[in-house]
C-alpha cells in the first residue's frame, strides 16, 4: 500500500473523508485483507490512546491560566536591569569596542604596503632644507627632494664637480 492509501485509511477512521472518498475506501477494504487488518490496528491504537490519555484539569479558568503564561513570557523577554557592579559585564562592555577597533586597525595595517614603504620608515630634514619624499614601490626607488630656502649648496659654479 502506498502512503496515500495509508493516509486515506487513517482519515477514514477519523471520519474526515467526503462521501465519495469513503465509498472508495470501503471498496478497497472489501477486496484487500491487508487494508482491513491495518484499519483494525489503527482503530485499536486509537482506542488505547483514548483510554489512557490523562485528563488535565486546570485549577483556574482557561483565560487566567493563559494570562499567567503571557506574563511569564513578557518577564523573560524584558531587558535585564544592572544589579550592582559586575566586573565581567564591565570588561565585556570595554573589550567589545576595543576589540572591534583593534580588528579595524590590524586590517588597515595589513592593507598598507610593506617592505620598503613609508610605513615604519623614518625621515627628517634639518638645517634650512625643506624636503619631501616620494617612493615608487614598483621600481624600488625613493626620492628625497630638497627645496632649499637659501643658496643651493650643490649648484656652486666654482666647485670642481659643479652641476651648472
Amino acid at each position: 500500500m502506498n502512503e496515500e492509501t495509508l493516509l486515506k485509511l487513517q482519515a477514514y477512521l477519523d471520519g474526515e473523508l467526503s462521501a465519495g472518498e469513503r465509498a472508495e475506501v470501503e471498496t478497497l477494504l472489501q477486496g484487500n485483507a491487508e487494508a482491513r487488518a491495518l484499519l483494525a490496528e489503527l482503530g485499536n491504537t486509537a482506542k488505547t490512546l483514548a483510554a489512557y490519555e490523562a485528563e488535565i484539569k486546570l485549577p483556574e479558568t482557561r483565560e487566567f491560566y493563559w494570562s499567567k503564561i503571557q506574563r511569564e513570557i513578557a518577564r523573560q523577554s524584558a531587558p535585564s536591569r544592572v544589579q550592582g557592579f559586575s566586573l565581567a559585564a564591565t570588561l565585556r562592555r570595554l573589550l567589545v569596542p576595543t576589540g572591534a577597533f583593534a580588528a579595524v586597525a590590524i586590517a588597515i595595517m595589513l592593507s598598507l604596503p610593506r617592505g620598503g614603504g613609508d610605513g615604519g620608515d623614518y625621515f627628517s630634514a634639518s638645517g634650512d632644507a625643506v624636503a619631501f619624499t616620494y617612493q615608487n614601490y614598483k621600481t624600488g626607488t625613493t626620492l628625497i627632494w630638497f627645496d632649499f630656502s637659501s643658496e643651493n649648496d650643490f649648484s656652486d659654479a666654482s666647485s670642481g664637480d659643479t652641476l651648472n
Binding site: F123, S126, Y134, N152, D153, F154, S155, L163
Partner: protein, 157 residues
C-alpha cells in the same frame, strides 16, 4: 663505566652541521655591505656645454630616475663613488665637494642614510628598508639654469 661519549655517525653529522652553520654565520657577519653613489646632472638640454664631459647615465639608473616622474629627460653621470660599510657603518663618505653621505646598516634589511651638505652639515636623515636592486635618490633644483642635481645610492652587495 665508560665516561667517554661514543662518537657514532649521527653525532659526527650533527657536529659537521653545527660547525658549518657557525662558519656560515661568521662569514655572513664578515660580509660588509658595498654601496655605490653617483652624482647625476638632470637637464632637458640635448647638447651638453663644451666644458662638460659627462656620459649619459647607465640604463638601470635612468629607468629608476624616470620612474620618479621628474621633469628632466636627460641624466648625465658626473661622478661615481663606491664605498664599503665595514661592520655595517660606512662613516661619512664624500660624494662631491659639496655633499657627503653615510650609511648605517640596521636589523631587518634597513639602513639609515644621512645626507650632508658642505661643512658636514646634516641635511637629512632617513631610515628605511633597502635591498639590492633598490635606489635611494637625493636631489634638488639648480635654480640658475633650470636643471637639477641628483645623488643616487644603491647597494652592490
Amino acid at each position: 663505566m665508560n665516561l667517554i661519549p661514543t662518537l657514532n655517525l649521527t653525532r659526527i653529522w650533527a657536529l659537521v652541521f653545527a660547525v658549518t652553520a657557525w662558519g656560515g654565520g661568521v662569514v655572513a657577519l664578515a660580509d660588509d655591505g658595498k654601496y655605490e653613489a653617483k652624482v647625476i646632472w638632470a637637464t632637458n638640454d640635448e647638447k651638453l656645454p663644451d666644458d662638460k664631459k659627462f656620459e649619459p647615465t647607465d640604463p638601470e639608473t635612468r629607468a629608476k630616475l624616470e620612474s620618479l616622474g621628474l621633469k628632466w629627460k636627460n641624466f648625465y653621470e658626473v661622478k661615481r663613488v663606491k664605498f664599503d660599510a665595514p661592520n655595517g657603518e660606512s662613516g661619512k663618505v664624500a660624494i662631491s665637494e659639496k655633499s657627503s653621505l653615510s650609511v648605517k646598516e640596521l636589523p631587518g634589511k634597513k639602513v639609515e642614510v644621512v645626507f650632508y651638505t658642505k661643512d658636514g652639515k646634516e641635511c637629512s636623515r632617513r631610515e628605511q628598508t633597502f635591498k639590492r636592486g633598490e635606489m635611494l635618490v637625493h636631489g634638488g633644483n639648480v635654480p640658475e639654469n633650470a636643471t637639477a642635481w641628483l645623488v643616487t645610492l644603491k647597494k652592490l652587495k
